[in-house]
Amino acid sequence: MWANIDLLIQVPKLAAGLFLEGLLIGAVFSLIAYGLALVWGVMNVKNLAQGPFVIAGGYICWYLSTLGLHPVLGMFAAAVVMWGLSWICFKLVVSKVLELDMFVSLLATFGLAYVLEQSLSLAFTQDTQTINLGWGSLDVFGDGLVLLAWQKVMAFAICCVLAVVLVLFMKRSRMGQAIRATAQNARAARVMGIDTDKVYSFTFCLNGAICGAAGALVAMIWVIQPFYGITYSIRAFVLVVAAGLGNLPGVILAGLGMGGLEQFGGFIIGAEYQQALVVGMLLAVLVVRLLQQSRKRQAVA
């Protein structure tokens, strides 16, 4: 462990490389977590099918790329198809459980996840797939020490653009305002004339489209397989909980932070502790928040 830290001090370029890789990785997780936070915040549905939605988006992009469509265009196609698929899921399942107990919605989305995984497995087999654009790598310092895959850089750029578009959309557009109003208080929103059913369906579909796009990026920078979705579900949950519900910019920061933490943790103390670090981060955030809140309560008392 000390030897690894020593190495980073001696060759700071390696540290810079790890930091950059962390940002590139974190951006994709942020995007997925953003969608989860949206659905969670607005509809109080914890979407356990988040990961399988991502993988489904990846498969759509991958499949279209085997038919000759460029993966970057395939990403838009994946978003559109996933929008449609989410709409079907919403009408068939999610809308029926919205008003019910939290556990019903957990079970329902868990069921969705299961059906989606098995369908992908039947349609595409369990072989791992990946999209290789063959774009080569960016030599950051010009000496071959830190190479970043152009595909990852592109994925990062796309995540940034999507994040800006989403934030602007939520702030400026009528629908965005309606979504935020519904998240604050659905009943009051209804009284003010907002069609909350439409807002719910739109939100769930928007999340599906985000997952579709994110899945396409995952297929371009890593690998996909029908049963890999759970990773993305778990990490998205960790990020949303760590950032605090309703704190959308926080989700993005937490994602980037997690990426960096994982890279340095993996380098210094070994890859097997990467996950422990992420969960440790969650624990630390929860403890700090608990302490803050208990202070607040005392002040009121």
Partner: protein, 408 residues
């Protein structure tokens, strides 16, 4: 319909049902049972294994069946789908044995399922020949009725260490100067592979400079590869199913990692040549079996012959390689036929003893079981990807090509 006609119809039906086995008695059957993954996460490989079983059974039956003490028997299998879940596999094994009366079992797919089923076959003292469970933890439990035709997982990449030692000597260095970087997924199978590599490396006194266990759920190994880049090992060993193979090959290319020797498992499952082209060149890939090996037996012929006949019987494999999962499944069936004929009886205890004494050369390689039940007669094979083609480079006695070193 009157009561009487109803009764007579039922009686006639009943009589027909009873007489059916009689009319079929011209052919005697030996019934094997297998829980196999036909749905769920192992279904692709489960199907490969099932096809291997069925191909061998059809071929044996077409050639007259199994001769047990002068009587000819045909083989047949009762399959149940274990849905790739161990608990279900164990249930189905119970059902096969207790309800269907199966006395001989073929294995399921994967070490996990085999681990779940072996206690059941052990309890009922049913001999099971399995072809798809490689974990060495299967062979230290003292099981008496479990036999495996494949090489165990700690052998998967161990021969890469011998190759690296040989290369060091050729370069005039000592094997103990060799620096090794290891990246293994944190799951039982990959850790078995790691144990084999670590044991052999210790034998030569090699230095292990990176020893990372990759989290199961993450498909990014850039932190580990950054370390590899900084420490410049002579050999990088990676194992993590097809995800590990695809991720490693992809990121080694992307991050410009150059090591003289790189050994990986599951290259073919991940289709590294198809997906990453030139980046995959020079990689050493381990496999249980390859159709280019010089193994041969009188029934299936050579490995190449098996490959051809199987492709003719299953056209869906025409434009891909016949997976080793299929070949070893066929070999397991062959072990049963051989043991039945040597035992000369259908008694399962006598059969178990006959299986234990198996000493065969087959198209799949030698088969001879240790007291623990694993096959000790067949080495793992290492192939190197040379210009996009998998060529056998180790073990030396079966190698068709020279090792290209260092890796381009």
């Amino acid at each position: 319909m009157s009561v009487i006609t109803k009764f007579t119809t039922a009686a006639a039906l009943g009589a027909a049902l009873v007489s059916m086995p009689l009319s079929a008695s011209a052919e005697e059957f030996i019934t094997l049972g297998s829980a196999i993954s036909l749905t769920g996460k192992y279904s692709t490989n489960g199907l490969h294994a099932q096809n291997g079983y069925d191909f061998a059974i059809k071929k044996i039956n077409d050639a007259g069946g199994v001769d047990v003490g002068g009587t000819k028997y045909k083989l047949r299998v009762i399959y149940y789908d274990d849905e790739s879940t161990p608990a279900r596999g164990a249930q189905l094994a119970e059902r096969l044995i207790a309800q269907d009366g199966v006395q001989y079992m073929l294995g399921p797919y994967s070490s996990g399922l085999t681990k779940a089923i072996a206690p059941v076959t052990e309890k009922y003292q049913i001999p099971m020949v399995e072809a798809e469970g490689a974990s060495r933890s299967l062979f230290n439990k003292g099981y008496k009725y479990l036999f495996a035709v494949l090489s165990t997982s700690e052998q998967y990449l161990a021969s890469a260490i011998d190759l690296a030692a040989g290369m060091a000597e050729r370069e005039g260095k000592s094997p103990s100067d060799v620096k090794i970087a290891m990246a293994f997924e944190n799951d039982p199978f990959s850790l078995d592979v790691r144990a084999g590599v670590a044991d052999d490396a210790a034998k030569y006194g090699m230095q292990i400079v990176v020893d990372d266990k990759l989290p199961r759920d993450l498909s990014d190994m850039s932190a580990t590869l950054t370390k590899v880049k900084a420490l410049k090992p002579d050999l990088l060993v990676v194992s993590g199913h097809s995800k590990g193979a695809a991720t490693a090959v992809r990121q080694i290319g992307e991050m410009g990692i150059s090591v003289p020797m790189l050994a990986v498992t599951h290259c073919e499952a991940a289709d590294v040549t198809g997906k990453f082209g030139d980046t995959a060149n020079g990689i050493l890939c381990s496999t249980q079996w390859a159709e280019t090996l010089t193994y041969e037996d009188p029934f299936f012929g050579s490995a190449a012959n098996y490959n051809e006949e199987f492709k003719a019987a299953y056209p869906e494999y025409a434009d891909k390689k016949v997976p080793y999962q299929t070949a070893q499944a066929s070999a397991a069936v062959w072990v049963f036929k051989d043991a039945f004929e040597r035992a000369g009886t259908l008694d399962k205890e006598a059969l178990r003893d006959a299986i234990a004494e198996t000493d065969l050369m087959t198209f799949y390689g030698g088969i001879k079981f240790s007291a623990a039940g694993n096959n000790v007669a067949k080495p793992m094979v290492l192939r190197q990807i040379q210009d996009g083609i998998y060529n056998v480079v180790a073990p030396p006695e079966f190698a068709s090509h020279e090792l290209q070193w260092p890796r381009p």
